[in-house]
């Protein structure tokens, strides 16, 4: 007989019976600067709350137990114009706003449920954390600061086809996928310059290779303030499609957003972005290259085939390759023949 004893007595906490928060202090800043300062000052002991749909779930299950919750609701703009959306605007507002491009509205209306859209903010939706159950469960996951991935030897139905590296989680956001396709920018308030900096939205997302513990590159003292849309481009048309097992609540198993700038029938410029198949909104550049400069309706099947170039399926997610092809075809068909 051989016995193995742990080197020291360590702890594991049983989370099964817990669904109300440990105590915390709710901080109510009055300016973006104050909010950023609070977040910096309390560091790992603080979290930011925008809509709270995800952060409150984490706090209630005591998966995290921050001492301070910085309420961003009082300081985030909710305003929506054709060029600028406040990060505090609810997903429902975005979905209902006729000023905004088709793909963004189509993505917003597909988020979760009416109740979550009424509370969840655009900023929160874009900067969502990973939804991998192994990350959020009691496993010793890389993303949670651990030293392995149990998902790849467990269940990988939800995981990535592209961009995974030790961690194969996927971006859960629908609106981020649409916004990257729309070439949106992010206005980020930074304590450093005490001002808003404008960055390309597509650049704020983090691959595991950048930092395996984070889904985006914003620092603790940085707050996403507004999402900026480029000036209207002539002939721009966009579309978004999402596949999920359930039409309510579910995160995408795959999503596709496309924006084409059209000259008559010809595609002058295009962005094809895939969601829920990579840790970040994923540009399908091979498909873009096929579509760019041609007539869309002649190149749909070729682009569809190219959209999944480089996909590497895990044990349970091969179906996502087919989903991407399904969804891109639907997007391109809609763009080629927009409904009156």
């Amino acid at each position: 007989m051989s016995f193995f004893f742990a080197a020291s007595r360590l702890t594991a906490k049983s989370q099964i019976g817990i669904d109300e928060p440990a105590s915390f202090r709710l901080l109510q800043p009055t300016t973006l600067e104050e909010a950023a300062r609070m977040l910096e000052q309390h560091g790992a002991a603080a979290v930011a709350l925008a809509g709270g749909c995800d952060i409150l779930e984490k706090i209630k299950t005591q998966w995290i137990a921050p001492s301070f919750v910085v309420n961003l609701k009082p300081v985030l703009s909710k305003e929506i114009t054709a060029q600028k959306i406040g990060a505090g605007a609810t997903v429902a507002q975005v979905a209902k706003s006729p000023l905004l491009p088709t793909a963004l509205r189509q993505a917003a209306i597909k988020v979760a449920t009416p109740q979550i859209r009424n509370v969840g903010t655009l900023g929160g939706n874009i900067l969502q954390d990973s939804r991998c159950p192994y990350y959020r469960g009691p496993w010793h996951c890389y993303r949670a600061g651990g030293l392995t991935c149990d998902a790849v030897r467990g269940f990988t139905h939800e995981h990535a086809l592209f961009g995974g590296e030790r961690c194969f989680t996927v971006t859960p956001s629908d609106t981020a996928v649409a916004l990257v396709a729309l070439d949106a920018q992010a206005d980020v308030f930074s304590l450093k310059g005490k001002a808003v900096e404008r960055r390309l939205l597509g650049d704020i997302f983090a691959l595991p290779a950048y930092d395996i513990t984070r889904m985006h590159k914003l620092l603790p003292h940085e707050v996403l303030a507004d999402v900026v849309l480029p000036a209207p481009k002539p002939g721009a048309r966009s579309a978004f499609r999402k596949a999920a097992m359930r039409e309510a609540w579910d995160f995408a198993l795959a999503s596709v957003a496309v924006e084409c700038e059209m000259d008559g029938d010809t595609c002058r410029e295009v962005r094809v972005v895939l969601g829920a198949v990579a840790p970040v909104p994923w540009r399908a550049t091979d498909a873009e290259n096929i579509l760019r400069g041609g007539k869309i309706k002649d190149r749909i099947e070729e682009a569809v085939r190219a959209s999944v170039n480089g996909a590497e399926a895990l044990p349970h997610n091969h179906y996502k390759i087919g989903l991407i092809k399904n969804l891109l075809r639907e997007c391109l068909e809609e763009i080629a023949q927009p409904k009156a």
Partner: protein, 1004 residues
Amino acid sequence: MDESFSRRTFVKIGAAIGVTGVSLVKAGQHTLRAFSTPGAADIGGNEIEKHPLTLQVNGKAYPLQLEDRRTLLLALRDDLNLTGTKRGCNLGQCGACTVLLDGDPVYSCLLLARDAEGRQITTIEGIAGAGGALHPLQTAWVDKMASQCGHCSPGMIMSAVALLQENAHPSETEVRHALGGNLCRCGNYPKEVEAVLAAAAGNGAKPETPLIGGRARTLDAFNKCTGTANYTCDIRLPEGMLHAKVLRSPIAHASVSNVDFSQVNKLPGVKATVSWDEVPNNPTDRRFLNGKARYVGDAICAVAAEDLYTAQQALELITLDLEEHKPVFDAEKVLRSGSDVKVHSNGEVAGFAGPQARDKNTIQFARGDIEKALQEAEVRLEGRYVTQIQCHVPIEPHCVVAKWEGDKLTLWSSEQSPHNCAHVMEKALKLAEGSVRVIATNIGGGFGGKCTDNAGKNLYQGIAAMLAKKAGRAVRLEYTNKELMFAEDTRNPMYFEMRVGAMKDGRITGIDCRAVQPTGGYASSGPPVCAVAGEGVMNTYRAGALRYTAYSVYTNTPVGGELRGFGHPQAVFALETHMDKLADKLGLDPLDFRLQQHLQDGDKLLTVEGEASMIRNSGLRECLERGAAAIQWREKWQHPSKKTGRVRRGLGVRMSQEHSGRDVSNGLIAIRPDGRVVVPIGYGNLGTQSHSGIAFIVADALGFSRAEMDTMIEFRWADSGTTAWDFVSDASRGIHCLGKAFHNAALDLRQKLAEAAAAMTGANASAFSVKGGRVVGAGRNLSFSEVVAKAPRGIQSPPVFNAAQDVNKILNEDTGQVLTPEPKLHPRTVALIEREFKDCLIGTGFYAYNPAAKGWGAGFAEVEVDMESGRYRVLQLVMAHDVGKIIHLDGVEAQIHGGGIFGLGYGTTEELLVDPHSGIPVNPALQWYRPVTMVDYPLITSVIVEKPDPAGPLGAKGMGENPVFTGAPAVANAIFNAAGVRIDEIPLTWTRVNDALRHAGRLL
């Protein structure tokens, strides 16, 4: 070598001085990440700051002092006592807590109360019109029977209120999307949509409807749509309640070597603790707290404190030393080669009488020589089918409030079977017979998960009872969503190996089935589920020989107990997929094959009680024929080899029987001296509306109208202290079993009234009839009180029953023995009469279920499969069910819709995934478990067949479970018909369809 020795590791759970942040736990071969809670320590014990704030609720301002962490849901329910807003999953994944915030629906569980300050909050209590008149949506909810269990109703109505404010005339699609954030686990979606559309259209007057076979208003319709229905979670005792929390094992297999409460006892507000070694011993393999954890979530010890937050904090301060054992996950491997580490030391297989050796099956039943029959067959087909863990996930998590008065214990509990629960708790707590009372007026969904009918069940009520005893205070224990999903029992996964032989013309020579059931850490209902699954395999097709052998195997996985269908959903998936393959192999249309080979009247049933009963009054053929017509089978069906294109449609069919319940029921009706009628129904109110159906049967037999029911009869239900004994509330038995016992009681009472009137008047008893609370005949019109004044009171005769129909053999689940019950009143019913109805004229009835009265059903599905991805959609379900006789049309339709939707989830989306290496459930959240939502259910067509059986009341059969069996096999067969590939494992995920297409070279 790694598996040949036991790795022992000490794992310490709870507080650890100086350890915050991430820490490691060596757990056998696994490394688990521990959770960290620096927050509580930083703030400093219990001294939590409260802030003043004012909430504007339903137009009134409420000043409050609340902690920052208080959610709006708790503020409404616990601080303002507005309990109409329900707590479901408590994590924004069910919708029960929906309220309006400035007119928009939001989840109040995902909003801090402080964030709702300055906003207008509207709850279900705030939507009534002037003078308390019902809101038009509530009127529609009542008229359309839009509540089954009703726990989702207040939240869903709030979503609908917001919709109609924005869009007065929504389409069906708009309604479904607007209410998409409100789960209804009863699957009553079609009636909920109908109600919203009716309210939008102005709610015409409810049409006249007969009491039997119509759409009479149910007993609790009003309470459930106004938020006034009291569920256990809404119980507030004037003397206050302590809150309990249970510490559960985070690892799958471990012995508890020490429990240390010393830190807990220092925490202000903690009033009691209880550990596993204080729990009385119990003859089954399980106690409600265990010294050996046999699955992740097994309960070990518990605390009770003044408030929920303190109880949670106390949980963290318990220090628990666990010695880990190698977990057992593979049931087949255990059967094949045993296991050096055993879940239960005295045997690997769960038998009816406890653990037994692995070479001994749990149950076998057979007829004829199966090997010879397979030998003689011209075509033989073998297959293996795998089913998953399904969770009940009722919207209301389990809740109990335990209160002692001397040696008497009252349990308000979300309990389906109050009588048996009281009986079982008396045994488990070593209390005298009759000392426990269980009250469960409303339950927010049961589905078998709240059925405490044997001592091997979870018995969480015992934890609250022991804490209450020690603290000398009432204790409340409410489950979290995780506890609901895997600490409580689930549906057993099962594997079936099928061998079927047939002649080329389709005649089946033999069916041989070996079933293996990983039952989890404890047997619970595993063995009887194996038995009933066998009935599912044996009793659908004519076959020369039959053999069914099942092994229920202990594993360190969540416990499989009972869940709507009780073995049938697993078995019918395996059998009906296999038979579909056989039809294809024989070159037959699968519908024709079934029409030729199904069991018919006069064929013998093979049930756990033996072979005695003969099929009679079967509506199966009519179900198949009318269902096929409804889905246009003959017009649409094509062999898969003829289909082309990227998107292909297909049809699938399945059929089966289901028993109409089991065991013994008592009926009792009393007329008080003042003429008032009391109907004390022992059935649980789990949402099926069986108690309403039984009430209609009684009222009809005694000549009352629906309006007179409200004014002249006192209906009681689901209270073991004030109602007649009933065995359990499950197994499709409400209307058929208890309804028959009450029908017998009504016949008894009618006869006694007539005899008393005859004695008063000198006329013949047959001259009298009963109507509207009066006894009429021989030129006299007597009120009940006049008759009762002259009639003999109390128990005057044995209960009424029909010897030929109403007394049948039953299986004792605790021992596996088949018994013939004595047709007499249960001592608890007698005691109730002695206690309360001694001065009343009473009628009593008896019934023990009849195995011949099967509920038959056939289900059809149409699907559309994308051959590029494997993604598919279910377009339509046709559900054809033989219910014997419709007692309540709304109720029958609701069971068909709800069962169909429940089964669709079982077949297509729902699975509790358990990590294969650690045994930890991966997706214990509704978000990832995926019950079918309001937006997702397909077109559902119900076809109701009536072939009355004399065993049931007015001919009614059981029908609450059979609709569940359609989703898995009919959709699997339809996927084959569309795409040409078989999926032998459920749920039928897109992964599985894609893999099957890819492996067959059919993926486009």
